[in-house]
Amino acid sequence: MMALLQALFSPWTWVMAWRDSRTSRARLFLFSTTIVLGVSALVAIGSLGRNLHEAIQEQAKGLLGADLVLQSRSAFTPAMEEFFRGLPAVEQSREVSFSSMVYFPKSQGTRLVQVRALAGGFPYYGGLETAPASARDAFRSGQGALVEESLMIQYRGAMGDPIKVGNAETRIAGTLLKIPGETVAFATVAPRVYITMDEAEKSGLLNRGSLVRYKAAFKLPAGMDAPSLVRRIRPQLEEFRLSHETVERRQEDLGRSMENLNRFLNLAGFVSLLLGAVGIASAIHVHIQQKLASAAILRCLGSTVARSFAIYLAQAIGLGAAGVLLGTVLGLAVQQAIPHLIADFLPFTVAFKIHPWPVLQAMATGLGVCILFALGPLLAVRRVSPLAVIRGGELGAAEKDPAQWAVALALAAAVIGFGISQTHKWEQGLGFAAGLGAAFGVLSMVAKGLTRAARAWTPRSWPYLLRQGLANLYRPQNRTLLLMVSLGLGTFLILTLYLVQRTLLTQLIPQHDASRPNAALFDIQMDQKDAVAEIVRAQGLQVIHLSPVISMRLKSVKDRPIEEILKDRARAIPNWVLRREYRSTYRDHLTDSENLVKGQWIGTATPGAEPFPISLDEGIARDLHVTLGDSLVFDVQGVPVKTTVASLRRVDWRRVQSNFFVVFPKGAIDDAPGFAILTTRVESSEASARLQRAVVREFPNVSAIDLTLILQTLDQVLGKISLVVRFMALFTVLTGFLVLVGAVLTGRFQRVRESVLLRTLGASRRQVLGILLAEYTLLGLMASATGVLLAALAGWVLARFVFEVSFAFVAIPLLVAVIAVTLVTVVTGLLMSLGVTRHPPLAVLRAEG
């Protein structure tokens, strides 16, 4: 090792490496481009991570809009208000938010929005941006509402137009452009309308059992530490069931999300780099095979093993350095594009700067991976016998170099190390490396199988061109392994992303079934349910389900009070399951989205005959660690209700209908206050709009969910996410293409004499191209088919074990992928080989040297 380092630091080594590269510099430079994209991705993402971190630090206060925010699911009581007044705040505000329909009388449009009523000067940091700017003051002085820009566009709203929220009618004061700490993507899902607290009261929507959140925001005196204040008031926060948020906590949460995003992008970039490094390894392999004779001469003339090895290692370092430098320049340019891609997901603005440290890290990673991959083929130089100079042919020793194992181990350690450094979890880091290793392994095995099969089973009766093409798969210096790995890996990565996205969308989009509901009306007061059902029927629509909904919380599980369970640090039940508000129903039958999996369905009960036999969703029963016969006590708006688990159901939560974790028998809690949900099926967005208008006009408190709108919104958000994913996948695809071009070109250099010989012996250009066509078709076909199978397997594993949904297999796009990859391979292969057949044999022989 010392000898190698010594040799590597010797100027003569570099002089010799430079001299020796004379005839192959252009070729080596071309191959260096295979790592350009991987390095550029890492450079761009490295700086992005630092920029995101800086933006979060710099805009910290603006992310929350206040120093401290306290939230509750129930209205603030006088005792809470008293507590708030006692806090050492310079200023404080209140915000009430809930989901409701907003009605635009001018365009007659209705839409489910997030209504926010604001009292006070919130936000204290970051500012509320409106158009015109004066609209903010108009809103604060009670002169109208602020409406999200997307709603203004959708319903052609203008300043001064009337809008109706529940029973309250007001005018649009202006357009809401930006609110601290919230993303454009969030606004797409839940557009916001800001009204005053008085209007919220007037709407009549605050006391109707629907989900309302209450928020108190505080501006603390300069220099006061919010986290220590939170520590001091923790007992009161627990007593009032108030959750809290501070700038520090928001920073942490955001930082974690951004880090996750960064890690994902980094891993995607690393995969691209690895694929490029495979291309480098292949180029070095071919290069070294051509240099073994020179290495033998050097050894014969007295060069030590380390010295001759160092010469070719220096060439590989030079090759890697060229790729890394190009990649860095490209990465710095790409860095300008990434913020636009993810801008909608960022609740803050990012100023883009070049950070030397992440750039250097990315460059070091690029060069390190490149050298590690190159080392494998380079080791052949160590085994060159000087005897080869007089013997010829015997250029390398037959036995395996033990250093190969060291290189393989170092490579595995590097990939695992990078995986762990990005995921921060050794299991995930190992999983990442194992997944990649498995993909490499399977593709290599298929390549080996293919070469063996081509050698063993090519029938002699097949046409000559086809037999020659097949023979190219196993001849010395063949590119079967390289093309299988690069094409297969590229296909595998892209299709895995596609299949996962498809699977998730299929889960979200219910199957087309004319009898299934696709619209829901909720927040229907119990005394309104018959009238609302009548309106639905009058529109010519069917009332598919009309379910009562009663809000309740758990009081005890298996006779243990919730407070006691929450204090138990060793408990296995998640927090949210114990603390959540259960929206339960009562009925005497199962719906078509439910299956009884355990116990006995009991549909009716006698009022007062506690404990009532209830039916639980099997998932929530698992989370609660309860089974048949176990007791649960619910707090139904102040009244304790005892129950026992009588049955467990499997619920299809994908259906747009009223599904429930807990179903009571009819007669048990029928008198409890609640509201109703009605589901129906509308055949068009016009029919949906007509229904919404009719219901909101009559009952402004009733909200509607239109599945078509949800799907549109979902499509928009997923579209933006998949754009980011595809952007990163593009690096891998383009790298795969560059590796393909490189592999074909190395093949061209290797095969040229063979083709020329064939032409000299009388083969036509067509025949030579025919041989290449057979070779590339088979390679493209096998690589893409293997990639597709691997992607299907990975998609299934991810669906089954990560997302826990059923895998959506799609045959046609996969078939298209196989054909497309094969076509690209064949076309690239033939285009890159055209030069060989276009010129007279002698000219080619001279040119190729």
Binding site: R19, S24, G302, T304, S385, L387, I390, G849
Partner: protein, 249 residues
């Protein structure tokens, strides 16, 4: 005049595994060569000539026996140790020239000295010496030509210049005229012997060319891996005529 042996070969055997058996290519060969001697190793194809040359020059390790080159036993040396000996005391001329195709004629000649020492001053000296040597072999005008731009004879001249640049004590030539036409062969052989005489180097030529062998002072005949004769017919090589020799089958 008898000097100390520059090459001493002791019971040299080289075998290669051949399935479960061992194929013995060279069997118990012993001889020694004095400094300044010219010697031909003569024998038919497959007689073990090239194997013997490889072992004598430290290009390969024997199965048994030992080689002492310039007084240094090669047996105890690893590959790098043997490389150092080669660089210090050995020069080579090969049948197929073995020039590095990416280096110019001048650079090819410089390599053995560059491997020995570094530094810009050394490089300048080496470059000067290499230039002079190429001048000596008649290629003063072709210093910066690549091997592919030179004829076979010219390439062998570059190889000769390279062989002498490190002032070797012993020069091994493996069929030096095997790839050349008759006229060129004569010129190359004349040059080889002239330079050898000029530099006082020990010369060992492996050949099956009897005429070439006859120009040396001593002929070692190999057959079936064994040394079958050792003939000394003149004290100095490069004389005008060679005695008749019986032809080999």
């Amino acid at each position: 005049m008898q000097s100390s042996p520059i090459l001493e070969v002791r019971r040299l055997t080289r075998g290669y595994p051949n399935g479960t058996a061992t194929l013995t290519v060279l069997n118990e060969v012993s001889f020694s060569v004095q400094s300044g001697e010219t010697c031909a190793i003569l024998g038919p194809s497959g007689s073990g000539k090239t194997t013997l040359l490889g072992l004598c020059a430290g290009l390969d390790a024997p199965s048994s026996g030992d080689v002492l080159l310039a007084g240094r036993p090669l047996a105890g040396l690893d590959e790098d140790g043997r490389a150092k000996v080669r660089n210090d005391v050995v020069g080579f001329v090969f049948q197929n020239f073995q020039l590095i195709p990416t280096l110019t004629a001048l650079e090819n000649v410089m390599v053995p000295m560059e491997l020995r020492a570094e530094g810009s001053a050394v490089r300048r000296t080496v470059e000067k010496e290499a230039g002079e040597l190429l001048q000596r072999v008649g290629l003063g005008e072709r210093l910066h030509h690549y091997p592919t731009q030179l004829s076979g004879g010219e390439q062998q001249r570059v190889a000769l210049a390279r062989a002498f640049i490190n002032k070797p004590k012993i020069l091994f030539a493996d069929e030096p005229t095997g790839n050349l036409d008759a006229d060129t062969s004569h010129r190359i052989v004349d040059l080889l012997f002239a330079m050898n005489s000029e530099w006082g180097t020990t010369l060992i030529i492996v050949t099956h060319d009897i005429e070439l062998a006859a120009r040396t002072g001593r002929i070692l005949r190999l057959r079936g891996g064994q040394l079958v004769s050792d003939e000394r017919h003149r004290m100095l090589a490069g004389g005008p005529a060679a005695p008749p020799l019986e032809a080999h089958a």
